[in-house]
Amino acid sequence: MSFLRFAVRRLAEMAATLLGASFVVFGAMYLAPGDPASFLLSGRSASPQALAAIKAQYHLDDPFFVRYLHWLGDIVRGDFGRSITYRTDVSRLLADRLPTTLLLVMMALVVVAVIGLALGWIAAVRGGGIDSTVLVGTTLAVGTPSFVAAVLLQGLFAVKLGWFPSSGAGDGFGDELWHLTLPAIALALYLIGMLARVTRSTMLEALDSEHVTVARSRGVPERQVIRRHVFRNSLGTVLTTGGLIVSTLLICTILVETAFSIGGVGQLLELSTTTKDFPTVQAISLIIVALFMAVNLIVDLLLPLVDPRIALGTRSTSV
């Protein structure tokens, strides 16, 4: 299969899954007992005008599928509706908060990639005591939910030692980096454990393979064997975890941002869930799902370039 045909097919698949996901996100509203208008207002007293506005915005007088198509059409045009709690456009709310969350996720991603790969590499190559230490450490990390890490780091480094601020997102880029350091580490901890384990086990597998023995017997320096024949070979498997890593980071921002009261998209999702601000919940859910699928698509397209042994599309699409 040619690369282009594969890319088009995956894109179409992604669009189909996204359509299904949007249907789930839209249809969830109708699981609520009672009439959708009163659910959307969720107990708030509404003037007849407000009720009429809600009915007009959600096309509540139309049949179900017409409503869905209207809603979908608005979203494709970037209109996520109006937040019931904040009384502004959801797209405005998101635009204000998205940069902070994306910076946080990026910082955590860098931490995960650098430390996770390094730990896995060292554990696989050195073995012995270092390997056991890394195994014990990653076993604990994989069992630590991000909110536990957030609360413990906050207690130690922000409250007790006072090295970092305990809440807020800061003003200006440098200040923001400083404010987001602890949250990024809390977000990364679980995934560092996961990535280190994947790296370690795939590198060990590669170390056992014949081409490594051949390279060694031909006198290739050990450093080069590890870099070009072991690490390079395990990179494909490591890359397949990319989609899972990004979606875990995105969903865990809700916990970490709440713990550190960072006014990003994660905290907005928490607030809008507790206040039953459904349009906002729908928008954020859709964005997370879309980002997850986009990353998975990129991974699928990059995979044959990183690891030519993997034929296009032979990996199952979900990790």
Binding site: F39, T139, L195, V198
Partner: protein
């Protein structure tokens, strides 16, 4: 057998933990379960009695593990919290295992359109992280443990059904299935009485690993104040309550639930991994 246990990548292909660690983890699982079962007899105090005069007191003979920012006994809250913290994941695991085995078996045995419909919907569920699906459903239904448990069960179902499907496909090719078919046993009978016992150990190992993940997800949700009702003691909620105490320089009431969450998840992971490795080694 070609089927491989579909573990999350972090736990795949690690070498089995040594026997001592496995035994310690098994003992810890037994301890926490017993404590949860006997909680109402073991707890020295009512977990919800507020004693503001005694707030944030250090551990003492009366309160072994100290009290929290509202003067509630930490030990009693931990014990009764173990109930909700373990009951939720148990519900998720039981439901996702039963439904996942049914779905996976139907897909593996029947094949055809049923199989492709099921694998399409599996892909859709994979696109929703479990927490997100739970939040979406909580936003509709509001308070209560049932909504997040059902949502997480649906999110965990594909892990079980995909595994079951591949196991059933492998079993179908084995001669004993043919032998029963020739003897005129019905498909349902062969599946339930002969295939199910053969694939059960692998599925159970997967479900044990899922337990730890479900515990983390549910504790996270209750940390956010979503799902579990306000007055029910729960480890995730205790971490949230403890955050205020931390700000006042009294971290103990937050540290205890954190420790128990981490140790319980690690224990379930190690036990599940050990079983999985054991099963993998046994099959040719």
């Amino acid at each position: 057998m070609t089927a491989v246990l579909t573990r999350r990548p972090g736990l795949s292909r690690i070498r089995a933990a040594g026997p001592p660690l496995y035994l310690i983890c098994l003992a810890f699982v037994a301890l926490v379960t017993t404590a949860a079962l006997l909680a109402s007899w073991l707890a020295p105090y009512d977990p919800n009695v507020v004693d503001l005069g005694n707030a944030m007191a250090a551990p003492s003979a009366e309160h072994w593990l100290g009290v929290d920012a509202a003067g509630r006994d930490t030990l009693s809250r931990l014990l009764l919290g173990a109930r909700t913290s373990l009951l939720g994941p148990l519900g998720v695991v039981v439901f996702s295992t039963l439904a996942g085995v049914a779905v996976g078996m139907a897909a593996g045995w029947r094949g055809g359109w049923l199989d492709s419909v099921l694998s399409r919907s599996t892909e859709l569920v994979f696109a929703f992280p479990g927490m997100l699906l739970a939040i979406l459903i909580i936003a509709v239904y509001g308070e209560g443990l049932l909504a997040p448990v059902v949502a997480l069960s649906i999110a965990y179902l594909p892990y079980v059904s995909r595994l079951t499907r591949s196991l059933v496909l492998a079993e179908r090719k084995r001669p004993y299935v043919n032998a029963y078919q020739v003897q005129g046993h019905s498909a349902l009978q062969i599946c339930l009485r002969h295939i199910l016992p053969n694939i059960a150990p692998v599925v159970l190992a997967q479900s044990t690993i899922n337990f730890g993940y479900a515990l983390m997800d549910l504790a996270g949700l209750s940390f956010l104040g979503l799902g579990i009702p306000a007055l029910t003691p729960d480890w995730g909620r205790m971490v949230f309550d403890g955050q205020t105490a931390i700000q006042h320089g009294y971290p103990l009431s937050a540290i205890w639930p954190c420790v128990f969450i981490v140790l319980t998840v690690v224990a379930f992971n190690v036990v599940g991994e050990r079983w999985a490795d054991h099963v993998a080694r046994r099959t040719p």
